[in-house]
Amino acid sequence: MIAPAAAASEDLADALQRCAAGDQQALRQILDAEGGRLLGVAHRMLQRRDLAEEAVQDCMVQIWRKAHQFRAGDGSARGWIFAILRNRCLNVLRDGRRLESLAPTDLTAMQDARLQAAGAGLDALGDQVALKDCLHGLEPASRRAILLAYVGGFTHGEIAAIQSVPLGTAKSWIRRGLDLLRRCLS
């Protein structure tokens, strides 16, 4: 019997193939299946509904354009789809002009909310997920830095500032943490 998650992933891979062939209904199917979570991830990184919606829209258009690049043997369709979304979100965060229209207090609130969301990501991982144990096995500073980067979308520089350490230290915490994670998960 195929586990539901695996079945869903096959459906997504199939939908990507149909997108590549020009079937708009397949893209609609991806939005229906993953849209709620895509919006959730975008909102967690951007903390604003309008920016999150824009990121998801951009993501769907990119999926449509790039569907032919997806190689099923390389990884999961879901991983590929969420990577596109994350990329859109990071673009918004890294593009200073996009955020400069926010009032300073809003910007501060946004950064605080991103910080908090990054901290909550680990607790929300299901107990059966190996990544959870592996993350718990890391030094707390390393673990936090990785979560700040992945869940919160913070840069090396921001992470160093948040953790009050020099840039080089933050970088090496992240790198060492990721090395250990790979070993733990392999």
Partner: protein, 236 residues
């Protein structure tokens, strides 16, 4: 590159921790380098469970109409007819040609026979179609090798008053991004490129918005307006 280095770089890429030039190179290599693409896919899947912890937000279906409206503009788009404005008398004219289908598919553009002309004129070594953030074609770079390259815009762009467009290419990771020159407008322009190694298939070209007068560091510092990968033209 050892497997470990490759995996470490893939992790950094997936976390969004590479700098702009490295990121552009890593992104470009996804299409050309299967080993790299596989390492990135593994890194994505390792961390994907964290995305699954985000709370689902309702209302995504309401985005569909907006998305659908943008799809029409995102199909492979034939390039428009050549710029009707007369170019300089000595400007090279080139025979019609097609981009190789694999690469055209990879960048989502079918560059049609738009470059009519005589047989003996110089031919570009590579052509790169530069796409904006939303994937729409913005400009076409034709690089003839040596120090001879030209850019042609196929779509309007918005340049803030205090910014100027600068064109870059990435001949290799070691050389880093090299300026091909500043643009004063969106007309067809011959680029003031330095002498570089012969342009290669898959080489990155991009336009960034820099302070007027050009990047103060000699490397791209501003937002990327459009970027694309070169398709080699020989034997087509």
């Amino acid at each position: 590159m050892t497997q470990d280095t490759l995996d470490a770089r893939a992790d950094a890429f997936v976390l969004g921790l590479l700098d702009d030039a490295q990121e552009a190179e890593a992104e470009a290599a996804l299409i050309a380098d299967a080993t790299w693409a596989a390492a990135v896919a593994r890194a994505r899947d390792r961390l994907l469970p964290l995305d699954m912890t985000a709370e689902e937000h309702p209302g995504a279906e309401a985005l569909w109409e907006g998305i659908r409206a943008r799809l029409a503009a995102s199909q492979p788009i034939p390039l428009p007819a050549p710029n009707p404005v007369p170019t300089a008398a000595n400007s090279p004219r080139r025979p019609g040609r097609m981009l190789p289908s694999g690469i055209a598919a990879a960048i989502g553009i079918l560059a049609g026979a738009v470059l009519g002309g005589s047989w003996f004129a110089p031919e570009p070594v590579v052509i790169a179609v530069l796409l904006d953030n939303a994937g729409a074609p913005t400009a076409v770079v034709e690089d003839y090798g040596g120090a001879d390259a030209r850019i042609r815009f196929v779509n309007g762009v918005e340049v803030p008053q205090d910014r100027q467009m600068q064109v870059w290419t990435l001949p290799s990771a070691e050389m880093g991004p090299i300026s091909l020159g500043l643009l004063t407008g969106t007309g067809t322009a011959d680029l003031d490129a330095p002498r570089l190694p012969e342009p290669a298939d898959g080489q990155l070209y991009e336009i960034t918005l820099e302070p007027r007068g050009g990047s103060p560091t000699g490397r791209p510092t501003g937002a990327i307006l459009a970027k694309g990968l070169a398709a080699r033209q020989e034997g087509i």
